[in-house]
Protein backbone atom coordinates (compact mmCIF):
# COMPACT_ATOMS: atom_id res chain seq x y z
CA UNK A 1 0.00 0.00 0.00
CA UNK A 2 2.68 2.49 1.06
CA UNK A 3 4.71 1.37 -1.95
CA UNK A 4 1.73 2.00 -4.23
CA UNK A 5 1.12 5.50 -2.84
CA UNK A 6 4.83 6.34 -3.17
CA UNK A 7 4.86 5.12 -6.76
CA UNK A 8 1.87 7.27 -7.64
CA UNK A 9 3.39 10.31 -5.94
CA UNK A 10 6.62 9.85 -7.89
CA UNK A 11 4.56 9.82 -11.06
CA UNK A 12 3.07 13.22 -10.20
CA UNK A 13 5.97 15.32 -11.59
CA UNK A 14 5.85 13.34 -14.85
CA UNK A 15 2.14 14.01 -15.29
CA UNK A 16 2.61 17.68 -14.44
CA UNK A 17 5.46 17.91 -16.94
CA UNK A 18 3.32 16.52 -19.78
CA UNK A 19 0.35 18.65 -18.73
CA UNK A 20 2.36 21.86 -18.55
CA UNK A 21 3.95 21.14 -21.94
CA UNK A 22 0.47 20.66 -23.38
CA UNK A 23 -0.92 23.91 -21.97
CA UNK A 24 2.23 25.82 -22.78
CA UNK A 25 2.10 24.66 -26.40
CA UNK A 26 -1.51 25.87 -26.60
CA UNK A 27 -0.39 29.34 -25.57
CA UNK A 28 2.33 29.19 -28.22
CA UNK A 29 -0.37 29.17 -30.92
CA UNK A 30 -0.71 32.90 -30.34
CA UNK A 31 1.80 35.09 -32.11
CA UNK A 32 4.45 37.00 -30.08
CA UNK A 33 2.57 40.29 -30.43
CA UNK A 34 -0.55 38.88 -28.78
CA UNK A 35 1.53 37.46 -25.95
CA UNK A 36 3.35 40.75 -25.55
CA UNK A 37 0.08 42.70 -25.36
CA UNK A 38 -0.55 41.24 -21.89
CA UNK A 39 2.32 43.27 -20.51
CA UNK A 40 1.15 46.56 -22.01
CA UNK A 41 -2.01 47.56 -20.09
CA UNK A 42 -3.27 50.38 -22.33
CA UNK A 43 -1.62 49.84 -25.68
CA UNK A 44 -4.18 52.02 -27.47
CA UNK A 45 -3.27 55.04 -25.38
CA UNK A 46 0.47 54.65 -25.79
CA UNK A 47 -0.01 53.94 -29.48
CA UNK A 48 2.72 53.29 -31.99
CA UNK A 49 5.51 54.57 -29.74
CA UNK A 50 5.97 51.07 -28.29
CA UNK A 51 9.08 49.33 -29.63
CA UNK A 52 7.31 45.99 -30.16
CA UNK A 53 10.19 44.15 -31.82
CA UNK A 54 12.64 45.26 -29.17
CA UNK A 55 10.34 44.10 -26.33
CA UNK A 56 9.64 40.77 -28.02
CA UNK A 57 13.39 40.20 -28.38
CA UNK A 58 14.06 41.26 -24.79
CA UNK A 59 11.50 38.84 -23.31
CA UNK A 60 12.49 36.13 -25.77
CA UNK A 61 8.96 35.75 -27.08
CA UNK A 62 10.17 34.92 -30.59
CA UNK A 63 12.47 32.08 -29.55
CA UNK A 64 11.63 28.49 -30.51
CA UNK A 65 8.94 26.76 -28.49
CA UNK A 66 11.23 24.40 -26.57
CA UNK A 67 13.59 27.23 -25.54
CA UNK A 68 10.72 29.27 -24.16
CA UNK A 69 9.27 26.21 -22.45
CA UNK A 70 12.63 25.36 -20.92
CA UNK A 71 13.04 28.89 -19.56
CA UNK A 72 9.50 28.91 -18.23
CA UNK A 73 10.01 25.51 -16.60
CA UNK A 74 13.21 26.77 -14.98
CA UNK A 75 11.31 29.62 -13.37
CA UNK A 76 8.49 27.31 -12.22
CA UNK A 77 10.92 24.91 -10.56
CA UNK A 78 12.29 27.84 -8.57
CA UNK A 79 8.78 28.64 -7.39
CA UNK A 80 8.35 31.65 -9.65
CA UNK A 81 4.99 31.35 -11.38
CA UNK A 82 5.34 34.77 -12.92
CA UNK A 83 3.46 38.05 -12.62
CA UNK A 84 -0.28 38.29 -13.17
CA UNK A 85 -1.22 41.63 -14.73
CA UNK A 86 -4.96 41.02 -14.23
CA UNK A 87 -4.63 40.40 -10.47
CA UNK A 88 -1.78 42.96 -10.15
CA UNK A 89 0.31 40.57 -8.02
CA UNK A 90 2.54 37.54 -8.48
CA UNK A 91 0.61 34.45 -9.55
CA UNK A 92 1.77 32.47 -6.51
CA UNK A 93 0.49 35.19 -4.20
CA UNK A 94 -2.84 35.37 -6.03
CA UNK A 95 -3.26 31.61 -5.69
CA UNK A 96 -2.43 31.78 -1.97
CA UNK A 97 -5.02 34.52 -1.53
CA UNK A 98 -7.89 33.15 -3.64
CA UNK A 99 -7.50 29.40 -3.30
CA UNK A 100 -8.69 29.17 0.35
CA UNK A 101 -11.90 30.96 -0.63
CA UNK A 102 -12.61 28.30 -3.25
CA UNK A 103 -11.69 25.47 -0.88
CA UNK A 104 -14.15 26.90 1.63
CA UNK A 105 -16.91 26.97 -0.98
CA UNK A 106 -16.07 23.47 -2.22
CA UNK A 107 -16.04 22.02 1.29
CA UNK A 108 -19.47 23.38 2.10
CA UNK A 109 -20.74 22.14 -1.27
CA UNK A 110 -19.22 18.70 -0.64
CA UNK A 111 -21.00 18.44 2.71
CA UNK A 112 -24.32 19.20 1.02
CA UNK A 113 -23.67 16.74 -1.80
CA UNK A 114 -22.46 13.81 0.29
CA UNK A 115 -24.62 14.08 3.40
CA UNK A 116 -27.70 15.11 1.45
CA UNK A 117 -27.14 12.66 -1.41
CA UNK A 118 -26.44 9.61 0.75
CA UNK A 119 -29.26 10.25 3.23
CA UNK A 120 -31.90 11.18 0.65
CA UNK A 121 -30.73 8.39 -1.70
CA UNK A 122 -31.04 5.83 1.08
CA UNK A 123 -34.48 7.11 2.00
CA UNK A 124 -35.57 7.04 -1.63
CA UNK A 125 -34.36 3.45 -2.09
CA UNK A 126 -35.88 2.13 1.14
CA UNK A 127 -39.18 3.78 0.25
CA UNK A 128 -39.09 2.53 -3.33
CA UNK A 129 -41.96 3.80 -5.54
CA UNK A 130 -43.54 5.72 -2.68
CA UNK A 131 -44.37 9.42 -2.98
CA UNK A 132 -40.92 10.69 -1.92
CA UNK A 133 -39.20 8.32 -4.33
CA UNK A 134 -41.36 9.48 -7.24
CA UNK A 135 -40.80 13.14 -6.34
CA UNK A 136 -37.05 12.49 -6.08
CA UNK A 137 -36.99 10.96 -9.56
CA UNK A 138 -38.65 13.99 -11.12
CA UNK A 139 -36.69 16.42 -8.93
CA UNK A 140 -33.31 14.92 -9.76
CA UNK A 141 -34.10 14.99 -13.49
CA UNK A 142 -34.65 18.71 -13.19
CA UNK A 143 -31.68 19.13 -10.83
CA UNK A 144 -29.27 17.42 -13.22
CA UNK A 145 -30.23 19.65 -16.12
CA UNK A 146 -30.45 22.82 -14.02
CA UNK A 147 -27.50 24.98 -15.14
CA UNK A 148 -25.47 26.35 -12.23
CA UNK A 149 -25.51 29.89 -13.53
CA UNK A 150 -29.25 30.00 -14.12
CA UNK A 151 -30.04 28.49 -10.74
CA UNK A 152 -27.53 30.87 -9.17
CA UNK A 153 -29.09 33.90 -10.84
CA UNK A 154 -32.55 32.76 -9.74
CA UNK A 155 -31.32 32.45 -6.14
CA UNK A 156 -29.79 35.92 -6.38
CA UNK A 157 -33.00 37.47 -7.69
CA UNK A 158 -35.13 35.86 -4.97
CA UNK A 159 -32.88 35.93 -1.91
CA UNK A 160 -30.91 39.08 -2.61
CA UNK A 161 -32.88 41.42 -4.86
CA UNK A 162 -36.29 40.55 -3.44
CA UNK A 163 -35.89 39.32 0.13
CA UNK A 164 -32.48 40.80 0.89
CA UNK A 165 -31.47 37.81 3.04
CA UNK A 166 -28.25 36.59 1.47
CA UNK A 167 -25.93 39.12 -0.20
CA UNK A 168 -23.36 38.27 -2.91
CA UNK A 169 -19.60 38.73 -2.44
CA UNK A 170 -17.46 37.12 0.27
CA UNK A 171 -18.02 39.36 3.30
CA UNK A 172 -20.01 42.46 4.22
CA UNK A 173 -17.91 45.62 4.32
CA UNK A 174 -17.97 45.83 8.13
CA UNK A 175 -16.78 42.23 8.36
CA UNK A 176 -14.11 42.93 5.75
CA UNK A 177 -12.83 45.73 7.98
CA UNK A 178 -12.60 43.32 10.88
CA UNK A 179 -10.83 40.65 8.85
CA UNK A 180 -8.33 42.81 7.01
CA UNK A 181 -7.68 45.76 9.32
CA UNK A 182 -7.94 44.90 13.03
CA UNK A 183 -5.83 42.36 14.94
CA UNK A 184 -7.65 39.49 13.22
CA UNK A 185 -5.31 36.55 12.55
CA UNK A 186 -5.77 34.91 9.15
CA UNK A 187 -4.60 31.39 9.93
CA UNK A 188 -6.02 29.59 6.91
CA UNK A 189 -7.50 32.30 4.69
CA UNK A 190 -10.87 30.57 5.06
CA UNK A 191 -13.27 32.98 6.74
CA UNK A 192 -15.41 30.33 8.42
CA UNK A 193 -12.40 28.72 10.11
CA UNK A 194 -10.54 31.94 10.89
CA UNK A 195 -13.53 33.64 12.50
CA UNK A 196 -14.02 30.71 14.84
CA UNK A 197 -10.31 30.61 15.71
CA UNK A 198 -10.48 34.33 16.47
CA UNK A 199 -13.66 33.88 18.47
CA UNK A 200 -15.67 36.23 16.23
CA UNK A 201 -19.07 34.59 15.91
CA UNK A 202 -20.53 37.64 14.12
CA UNK A 203 -17.93 37.35 11.34
CA UNK A 204 -18.62 33.61 11.12
CA UNK A 205 -22.34 34.21 10.59
CA UNK A 206 -21.63 36.92 8.03
CA UNK A 207 -19.26 34.63 6.10
CA UNK A 208 -21.81 31.82 6.19
CA UNK A 209 -24.54 34.14 4.89
CA UNK A 210 -22.36 34.89 1.87
CA UNK A 211 -21.41 31.26 1.33
CA UNK A 212 -24.78 29.60 1.56
CA UNK A 213 -26.24 30.64 -1.82
CA UNK A 214 -23.20 29.82 -3.97
CA UNK A 215 -22.78 26.51 -2.13
CA UNK A 216 -26.39 25.56 -2.83
CA UNK A 217 -26.20 26.81 -6.42
CA UNK A 218 -23.36 24.56 -7.35
CA UNK A 219 -24.18 21.51 -5.35
CA UNK A 220 -27.73 21.05 -6.67
CA UNK A 221 -26.66 19.22 -9.83
CA UNK A 222 -24.17 16.98 -8.06
CA UNK A 223 -26.64 16.36 -5.23
CA UNK A 224 -29.13 15.10 -7.82
CA UNK A 225 -26.55 12.78 -9.40
CA UNK A 226 -25.47 11.56 -5.97
CA UNK A 227 -29.04 10.87 -4.91
CA UNK A 228 -29.74 8.88 -8.09
CA UNK A 229 -26.52 6.95 -7.80
CA UNK A 230 -27.06 6.08 -4.14
CA UNK A 231 -30.66 5.13 -4.82
CA UNK A 232 -30.00 2.79 -7.74
CA UNK A 233 -26.90 1.30 -6.14
CA UNK A 234 -28.75 0.57 -2.91
CA UNK A 235 -31.75 -0.84 -4.77
CA UNK A 236 -29.43 -3.24 -6.55
CA UNK A 237 -27.66 -4.22 -3.33
CA UNK A 238 -30.95 -4.81 -1.52
CA UNK A 239 -31.71 -7.59 -4.02
CA UNK A 240 -28.49 -9.45 -3.17
CA UNK A 241 -28.66 -12.76 -1.36
CA UNK A 242 -26.67 -11.68 1.66
CA UNK A 243 -29.23 -8.98 2.38
CA UNK A 244 -31.96 -11.61 2.31
CA UNK A 245 -29.82 -13.68 4.65
CA UNK A 246 -29.38 -10.76 7.02
CA UNK A 247 -33.13 -10.20 7.04
CA UNK A 248 -33.77 -13.92 7.52
CA UNK A 249 -31.47 -13.87 10.55
CA UNK A 250 -34.01 -11.51 12.03
CA UNK A 251 -31.84 -8.39 12.04
CA UNK A 252 -33.63 -5.09 12.37
CA UNK A 253 -34.26 -3.40 9.00
CA UNK A 254 -32.19 -0.43 10.15
CA UNK A 255 -29.18 -2.65 10.80
CA UNK A 256 -29.64 -4.42 7.46
CA UNK A 257 -29.64 -1.12 5.60
CA UNK A 258 -26.90 0.66 7.53
CA UNK A 259 -24.47 -2.20 8.22
CA UNK A 260 -24.97 -4.65 5.37
CA UNK A 261 -26.40 -2.95 2.31
CA UNK A 262 -25.24 0.65 2.41
CA UNK A 263 -21.56 -0.05 2.88
CA UNK A 264 -21.45 -2.07 -0.32
CA UNK A 265 -23.70 0.36 -2.12
CA UNK A 266 -21.21 3.14 -1.39
CA UNK A 267 -18.63 1.92 -3.96
CA UNK A 268 -20.10 3.70 -7.01
CA UNK A 269 -20.56 6.75 -4.80
CA UNK A 270 -16.83 6.82 -4.08
CA UNK A 271 -16.07 6.55 -7.80
CA UNK A 272 -18.35 9.50 -8.38
CA UNK A 273 -16.61 11.42 -5.58
CA UNK A 274 -13.47 11.51 -7.73
CA UNK A 275 -15.29 13.17 -10.58
CA UNK A 276 -17.04 15.51 -8.13
CA UNK A 277 -13.79 17.31 -7.33
CA UNK A 278 -13.21 17.97 -11.02
CA UNK A 279 -16.84 19.05 -11.47
CA UNK A 280 -16.64 21.34 -8.47
CA UNK A 281 -13.51 23.06 -9.72
CA UNK A 282 -15.30 23.74 -12.99
CA UNK A 283 -18.49 24.77 -11.23
CA UNK A 284 -16.55 27.14 -8.98
CA UNK A 285 -15.57 29.16 -12.05
CA UNK A 286 -19.22 29.70 -13.00
CA UNK A 287 -20.71 30.09 -9.54
CA UNK A 288 -18.04 32.47 -8.28
CA UNK A 289 -18.66 34.66 -11.32
CA UNK A 290 -22.41 34.69 -10.67
CA UNK A 291 -22.07 35.55 -6.98
CA UNK A 292 -19.10 37.87 -7.35
CA UNK A 293 -17.29 35.61 -4.88
CA UNK A 294 -13.58 36.34 -5.08
CA UNK A 295 -11.97 32.91 -5.32
CA UNK A 296 -9.89 30.93 -7.82
CA UNK A 297 -12.77 30.79 -10.28
CA UNK A 298 -13.19 34.53 -10.54
CA UNK A 299 -9.43 34.92 -10.63
CA UNK A 300 -9.17 32.69 -13.68
CA UNK A 301 -12.12 34.33 -15.43
CA UNK A 302 -10.57 37.77 -14.97
CA UNK A 303 -7.27 36.35 -16.17
CA UNK A 304 -9.01 34.81 -19.18
CA UNK A 305 -10.63 38.05 -20.21
CA UNK A 306 -7.27 39.83 -19.98
CA UNK A 307 -5.37 37.03 -21.79
CA UNK A 308 -3.22 36.75 -18.67
CA UNK A 309 -1.28 33.59 -19.51
CA UNK A 310 1.01 33.29 -16.51
CA UNK A 311 -2.11 33.24 -14.33
CA UNK A 312 -3.82 30.65 -16.52
CA UNK A 313 -0.74 28.42 -16.64
CA UNK A 314 -0.30 28.64 -12.86
CA UNK A 315 -3.95 27.88 -12.30
CA UNK A 316 -3.84 24.88 -14.65
CA UNK A 317 -0.81 23.43 -12.85
CA UNK A 318 -2.62 23.76 -9.53
CA UNK A 319 -5.67 22.00 -10.95
CA UNK A 320 -3.43 19.23 -12.29
CA UNK A 321 -1.92 18.63 -8.84
CA UNK A 322 -5.36 18.58 -7.21
CA UNK A 323 -6.79 16.10 -9.72
CA UNK A 324 -3.85 13.70 -9.45
CA UNK A 325 -3.97 13.78 -5.64
CA UNK A 326 -7.75 13.27 -5.60
CA UNK A 327 -7.50 10.22 -7.83
CA UNK A 328 -4.90 8.78 -5.48
CA UNK A 329 -7.10 9.37 -2.43
CA UNK A 330 -10.05 7.75 -4.21
CA UNK A 331 -7.99 4.65 -5.00
CA UNK A 332 -6.90 4.36 -1.38
CA UNK A 333 -10.49 4.78 -0.19
CA UNK A 334 -11.51 1.87 -2.41
CA UNK A 335 -9.31 -0.50 -0.43
CA UNK A 336 -10.87 0.66 2.81
CA UNK A 337 -14.45 0.19 1.57
CA UNK A 338 -13.85 -2.97 -0.41
CA UNK A 339 -11.14 -5.23 1.09
CA UNK A 340 -11.06 -7.38 -2.05
CA UNK A 341 -9.46 -4.52 -3.99
CA UNK A 342 -5.67 -4.76 -3.81
CA UNK A 343 -3.47 -1.89 -4.99
CA UNK A 344 -0.19 -2.77 -6.65
Amino acid sequence: MAYYVLKRLLLLPVILFVLSALIFSLVMFLNPYERLAVFIPNADAVGSSIPFEELIARYGLDKPFYVQYYEWLGRIVHGNLGWSPSARMPVAEAIARYFPATVELMSLGAVIVFVGGILLGTYSATHHNRLFDQAARVGTSIGVSLPEFIFGLALLVIFYAWLGWFPPGRLSSWAENVVYLSGFHRYTGMNLVDSLLNGRLDVFIDALRHLILPAIAYSIGMLSTMLRLMRSSLLETLQKDYVTTARAKGLAEKVVINKHARRNALLPVVTFAGSIVAKMLGGAVIVETVFNYRGMGMFVVTAAQGLDFSAILGFSLLIGVIIVLTNLIIDVMYTILDPTVVLR
Partner: protein, 290 residues
Protein backbone atom coordinates in the same frame (compact mmCIF):
# COMPACT_ATOMS: atom_id res chain seq x y z
CA UNK B 1 -39.82 1.71 -33.90
CA UNK B 2 -40.31 -0.42 -30.84
CA UNK B 3 -37.80 1.75 -29.01
CA UNK B 4 -39.58 4.95 -29.96
CA UNK B 5 -42.89 3.51 -28.77
CA UNK B 6 -41.37 2.61 -25.41
CA UNK B 7 -39.90 6.12 -25.06
CA UNK B 8 -43.27 7.71 -25.82
CA UNK B 9 -45.07 5.46 -23.31
CA UNK B 10 -42.83 6.74 -20.51
CA UNK B 11 -44.22 10.08 -19.28
CA UNK B 12 -40.76 11.55 -18.66
CA UNK B 13 -39.52 10.33 -22.04
CA UNK B 14 -42.56 11.80 -23.77
CA UNK B 15 -41.98 15.17 -22.07
CA UNK B 16 -38.37 15.12 -23.24
CA UNK B 17 -39.32 14.23 -26.80
CA UNK B 18 -41.97 16.98 -26.92
CA UNK B 19 -39.52 19.59 -25.61
CA UNK B 20 -36.83 18.63 -28.11
CA UNK B 21 -39.32 18.60 -31.01
CA UNK B 22 -40.71 21.95 -29.91
CA UNK B 23 -37.26 23.54 -30.03
CA UNK B 24 -36.48 21.85 -33.34
CA UNK B 25 -39.70 23.34 -34.69
CA UNK B 26 -38.75 26.83 -33.45
CA UNK B 27 -35.25 26.51 -34.89
CA UNK B 28 -36.54 25.42 -38.30
CA UNK B 29 -39.17 28.15 -38.43
CA UNK B 30 -36.84 30.87 -37.11
CA UNK B 31 -37.02 33.05 -40.27
CA UNK B 32 -40.83 32.87 -40.16
CA UNK B 33 -41.21 33.69 -36.47
CA UNK B 34 -38.61 36.44 -36.41
CA UNK B 35 -37.71 38.16 -39.64
CA UNK B 36 -33.92 37.67 -40.13
CA UNK B 37 -31.60 40.59 -39.51
CA UNK B 38 -30.55 41.71 -43.02
CA UNK B 39 -26.95 42.29 -41.94
CA UNK B 40 -26.39 38.88 -40.34
CA UNK B 41 -29.16 36.53 -39.26
CA UNK B 42 -27.21 35.41 -36.19
CA UNK B 43 -26.67 38.90 -34.91
CA UNK B 44 -29.64 39.88 -32.74
CA UNK B 45 -31.87 42.50 -34.37
CA UNK B 46 -32.01 45.80 -32.47
CA UNK B 47 -35.01 48.02 -31.85
CA UNK B 48 -33.55 51.40 -30.98
CA UNK B 49 -30.36 51.82 -28.99
CA UNK B 50 -31.76 52.62 -25.53
CA UNK B 51 -29.35 51.82 -22.71
CA UNK B 52 -32.24 50.68 -20.50
CA UNK B 53 -34.12 47.41 -21.11
CA UNK B 54 -37.66 47.93 -22.45
CA UNK B 55 -40.59 45.77 -21.25
CA UNK B 56 -42.51 43.52 -23.65
CA UNK B 57 -44.51 45.43 -26.27
CA UNK B 58 -46.17 44.52 -29.59
CA UNK B 59 -42.95 45.46 -31.38
CA UNK B 60 -40.80 43.19 -29.20
CA UNK B 61 -43.00 40.54 -27.60
CA UNK B 62 -40.39 39.53 -25.00
CA UNK B 63 -39.01 43.05 -24.51
CA UNK B 64 -35.51 44.30 -25.29
CA UNK B 65 -32.27 44.30 -23.30
CA UNK B 66 -29.95 47.28 -22.93
CA UNK B 67 -28.74 48.31 -26.38
CA UNK B 68 -32.18 47.58 -27.83
CA UNK B 69 -31.50 43.89 -28.55
CA UNK B 70 -34.78 42.11 -29.26
CA UNK B 71 -35.11 39.24 -26.75
CA UNK B 72 -37.60 37.21 -28.82
CA UNK B 73 -35.24 37.37 -31.80
CA UNK B 74 -32.35 36.17 -29.64
CA UNK B 75 -34.37 33.25 -28.26
CA UNK B 76 -35.64 32.10 -31.66
CA UNK B 77 -32.32 32.33 -33.50
CA UNK B 78 -30.52 31.16 -30.38
CA UNK B 79 -32.40 27.88 -30.81
CA UNK B 80 -30.54 27.42 -34.10
CA UNK B 81 -27.25 28.20 -32.36
CA UNK B 82 -28.08 25.66 -29.65
CA UNK B 83 -28.83 22.89 -32.15
CA UNK B 84 -25.77 23.77 -34.19
CA UNK B 85 -23.50 23.62 -31.15
CA UNK B 86 -25.09 20.47 -29.74
CA UNK B 87 -25.30 18.46 -32.95
CA UNK B 88 -21.90 19.41 -34.38
CA UNK B 89 -19.99 18.95 -31.11
CA UNK B 90 -21.61 15.65 -30.26
CA UNK B 91 -21.46 14.10 -33.74
CA UNK B 92 -17.82 15.06 -34.35
CA UNK B 93 -16.71 14.09 -30.82
CA UNK B 94 -18.56 10.78 -31.10
CA UNK B 95 -16.96 10.09 -34.49
CA UNK B 96 -13.45 10.77 -33.17
CA UNK B 97 -14.14 8.82 -30.00
CA UNK B 98 -15.55 5.84 -31.87
CA UNK B 99 -12.54 5.72 -34.18
CA UNK B 100 -9.94 6.18 -31.42
CA UNK B 101 -11.56 3.77 -28.97
CA UNK B 102 -12.72 1.30 -31.58
CA UNK B 103 -9.49 1.08 -33.54
CA UNK B 104 -7.45 0.91 -30.32
CA UNK B 105 -9.46 -1.95 -28.92
CA UNK B 106 -9.69 -3.77 -32.26
CA UNK B 107 -5.98 -3.66 -33.08
CA UNK B 108 -4.81 -3.94 -29.44
CA UNK B 109 -1.15 -3.98 -28.44
CA UNK B 110 0.96 -0.88 -28.83
CA UNK B 111 -1.67 1.07 -30.82
CA UNK B 112 -4.21 0.59 -28.05
CA UNK B 113 -1.66 1.47 -25.39
CA UNK B 114 -0.64 4.74 -27.09
CA UNK B 115 -4.22 5.80 -27.89
CA UNK B 116 -5.40 5.09 -24.36
CA UNK B 117 -2.52 7.03 -22.76
CA UNK B 118 -3.45 9.99 -24.95
CA UNK B 119 -7.07 9.61 -23.85
CA UNK B 120 -5.92 9.45 -20.22
CA UNK B 121 -4.05 12.70 -20.68
CA UNK B 122 -7.19 14.42 -21.96
CA UNK B 123 -9.17 12.78 -19.15
CA UNK B 124 -6.83 14.12 -16.48
CA UNK B 125 -8.17 17.65 -16.71
CA UNK B 126 -11.57 18.94 -15.55
CA UNK B 127 -13.70 19.31 -18.67
CA UNK B 128 -15.09 22.78 -18.03
CA UNK B 129 -11.73 24.28 -17.11
CA UNK B 130 -10.03 22.63 -20.07
CA UNK B 131 -12.63 24.07 -22.41
CA UNK B 132 -12.35 27.51 -20.84
CA UNK B 133 -8.56 27.54 -21.27
CA UNK B 134 -8.92 26.24 -24.83
CA UNK B 135 -11.45 28.85 -25.91
CA UNK B 136 -9.36 31.64 -24.40
CA UNK B 137 -6.46 30.53 -26.57
CA UNK B 138 -8.64 30.16 -29.68
CA UNK B 139 -10.34 33.54 -29.22
CA UNK B 140 -13.97 34.68 -29.23
CA UNK B 141 -16.78 33.29 -31.35
CA UNK B 142 -19.19 30.36 -31.27
CA UNK B 143 -17.15 28.41 -33.83
CA UNK B 144 -14.14 28.56 -31.49
CA UNK B 145 -16.32 27.26 -28.66
CA UNK B 146 -17.40 24.34 -30.86
CA UNK B 147 -13.76 23.48 -31.62
CA UNK B 148 -12.80 23.70 -27.95
CA UNK B 149 -15.68 21.43 -26.95
CA UNK B 150 -14.73 18.85 -29.58
CA UNK B 151 -11.05 18.85 -28.56
CA UNK B 152 -11.99 17.69 -25.07
CA UNK B 153 -15.34 16.08 -25.84
CA UNK B 154 -14.28 12.89 -27.63
CA UNK B 155 -12.53 11.31 -24.64
CA UNK B 156 -15.67 9.80 -23.03
CA UNK B 157 -16.74 8.22 -26.32
CA UNK B 158 -13.29 6.70 -26.79
CA UNK B 159 -13.46 5.05 -23.37
CA UNK B 160 -16.96 3.67 -23.83
CA UNK B 161 -16.33 2.50 -27.38
CA UNK B 162 -13.13 0.76 -26.34
CA UNK B 163 -14.77 -1.28 -23.60
CA UNK B 164 -17.63 -2.23 -25.94
CA UNK B 165 -15.34 -3.33 -28.77
CA UNK B 166 -13.16 -5.30 -26.35
CA UNK B 167 -16.15 -7.43 -25.41
CA UNK B 168 -17.69 -7.63 -28.89
CA UNK B 169 -14.51 -8.76 -30.63
CA UNK B 170 -14.40 -11.92 -28.50
CA UNK B 171 -17.83 -13.07 -29.67
CA UNK B 172 -18.25 -16.18 -31.78
CA UNK B 173 -19.67 -14.43 -34.84
CA UNK B 174 -16.44 -12.44 -35.16
CA UNK B 175 -14.43 -15.66 -35.21
CA UNK B 176 -16.95 -16.99 -37.75
CA UNK B 177 -16.40 -13.95 -39.98
CA UNK B 178 -12.64 -14.39 -39.61
CA UNK B 179 -12.75 -18.05 -40.57
CA UNK B 180 -14.78 -17.13 -43.65
CA UNK B 181 -11.81 -15.00 -44.68
CA UNK B 182 -13.29 -11.55 -44.10
CA UNK B 183 -10.72 -8.75 -44.08
CA UNK B 184 -9.90 -6.65 -41.02
CA UNK B 185 -11.66 -3.59 -42.38
CA UNK B 186 -14.79 -5.55 -43.23
CA UNK B 187 -14.89 -7.16 -39.79
CA UNK B 188 -14.47 -3.81 -38.07
CA UNK B 189 -17.02 -1.84 -40.07
CA UNK B 190 -19.57 -4.56 -40.84
CA UNK B 191 -19.50 -6.68 -37.70
CA UNK B 192 -17.91 -4.92 -34.75
CA UNK B 193 -19.07 -1.33 -35.27
CA UNK B 194 -22.82 -1.98 -35.64
CA UNK B 195 -22.79 -4.24 -32.58
CA UNK B 196 -20.93 -1.92 -30.26
CA UNK B 197 -22.23 1.52 -31.16
CA UNK B 198 -25.46 1.54 -29.13
CA UNK B 199 -24.00 2.96 -25.87
CA UNK B 200 -22.45 5.75 -27.93
CA UNK B 201 -25.91 6.83 -29.10
CA UNK B 202 -27.19 6.88 -25.54
CA UNK B 203 -24.31 9.00 -24.29
CA UNK B 204 -24.65 11.25 -27.33
CA UNK B 205 -28.31 12.00 -26.64
CA UNK B 206 -27.45 12.84 -23.03
CA UNK B 207 -24.45 14.86 -24.15
CA UNK B 208 -26.24 17.26 -26.49
CA UNK B 209 -27.91 19.09 -23.62
CA UNK B 210 -24.69 19.13 -21.59
CA UNK B 211 -22.63 20.54 -24.45
CA UNK B 212 -25.15 23.30 -25.16
CA UNK B 213 -25.13 24.09 -21.45
CA UNK B 214 -21.33 24.34 -21.35
CA UNK B 215 -21.29 26.52 -24.46
CA UNK B 216 -23.85 28.77 -22.75
CA UNK B 217 -21.73 28.86 -19.58
CA UNK B 218 -18.70 29.91 -21.63
CA UNK B 219 -20.66 32.74 -23.25
CA UNK B 220 -21.96 33.64 -19.80
CA UNK B 221 -18.50 34.14 -18.30
CA UNK B 222 -17.45 36.04 -21.42
CA UNK B 223 -15.17 33.64 -23.31
CA UNK B 224 -17.77 32.33 -25.78
CA UNK B 225 -19.97 34.09 -28.33
CA UNK B 226 -19.45 37.78 -29.12
CA UNK B 227 -21.86 40.30 -27.55
CA UNK B 228 -24.98 40.61 -29.68
CA UNK B 229 -24.70 37.07 -31.11
CA UNK B 230 -27.91 35.04 -30.98
CA UNK B 231 -26.79 32.77 -28.15
CA UNK B 232 -28.72 32.11 -24.96
CA UNK B 233 -25.72 32.17 -22.64
CA UNK B 234 -24.59 35.48 -24.06
CA UNK B 235 -28.10 36.87 -23.51
CA UNK B 236 -28.02 35.87 -19.85
CA UNK B 237 -24.63 37.51 -19.53
CA UNK B 238 -26.33 40.66 -20.85
CA UNK B 239 -29.06 40.46 -18.25
CA UNK B 240 -26.69 40.16 -15.29
CA UNK B 241 -26.55 43.92 -14.82
CA UNK B 242 -30.36 44.04 -14.54
CA UNK B 243 -30.85 41.36 -11.90
CA UNK B 244 -31.46 43.76 -9.07
CA UNK B 245 -34.29 45.73 -10.69
CA UNK B 246 -35.10 49.04 -9.02
CA UNK B 247 -35.56 49.98 -5.36
CA UNK B 248 -39.36 49.90 -5.63
CA UNK B 249 -39.60 46.84 -7.80
CA UNK B 250 -36.94 44.13 -7.53
CA UNK B 251 -38.44 42.35 -10.55
CA UNK B 252 -38.51 45.45 -12.79
CA UNK B 253 -36.38 43.83 -15.53
CA UNK B 254 -37.67 40.26 -15.14
CA UNK B 255 -37.91 39.71 -18.89
CA UNK B 256 -34.17 40.18 -19.47
CA UNK B 257 -33.24 36.99 -17.59
CA UNK B 258 -36.47 34.98 -17.45
CA UNK B 259 -36.90 34.18 -21.16
CA UNK B 260 -33.32 33.11 -21.94
CA UNK B 261 -33.24 31.05 -18.71
CA UNK B 262 -36.43 29.22 -19.63
CA UNK B 263 -35.04 28.57 -23.11
CA UNK B 264 -31.81 26.97 -21.82
CA UNK B 265 -33.63 25.08 -19.09
CA UNK B 266 -36.26 23.49 -21.32
CA UNK B 267 -33.76 22.66 -24.07
CA UNK B 268 -31.36 20.90 -21.71
CA UNK B 269 -34.14 19.23 -19.72
CA UNK B 270 -35.64 17.89 -22.95
CA UNK B 271 -32.40 16.17 -23.98
CA UNK B 272 -31.71 14.88 -20.45
CA UNK B 273 -35.17 13.30 -20.15
CA UNK B 274 -34.94 11.85 -23.65
CA UNK B 275 -31.45 10.45 -23.05
CA UNK B 276 -32.37 9.02 -19.66
CA UNK B 277 -35.40 7.25 -21.05
CA UNK B 278 -33.45 5.94 -24.03
CA UNK B 279 -30.89 4.46 -21.65
CA UNK B 280 -33.56 2.84 -19.51
CA UNK B 281 -35.29 1.41 -22.57
CA UNK B 282 -32.15 0.16 -24.31
CA UNK B 283 -30.21 -1.06 -21.27
CA UNK B 284 -32.12 -4.02 -19.80
CA UNK B 285 -29.96 -3.99 -16.69
CA UNK B 286 -31.36 -0.59 -15.76
CA UNK B 287 -34.92 -1.60 -16.58
CA UNK B 288 -34.95 -4.24 -13.86
CA UNK B 289 -34.16 -1.67 -11.17
CA UNK B 290 -36.50 1.02 -12.36
Amino acid sequence: MNTLLRVVRNPLGLTGLVLVLLWAFIAILAPVISHPNPRDAYSIARIGFSSLPKPPSPKALFGTTSGGYNILYGIVWGARTAFRVGLIVVSVSALIGVLVGGVGAFLGGIVDEVLMRITDLFMSFPFLIAVIVMSIVLGKGIDKVIIALIIFGWRTYARVMRSEVLSVKERDYISAAESLGAGKLRIFFRHILPNSIFPVFIIASLDIGTMVLIAASLSFIGVGAEPGYADWGQMINFSRSWLLGTVNNPFEYWYTYTYPSIAILTFVLGWTLLGDTLRDVLDPRMRKIE
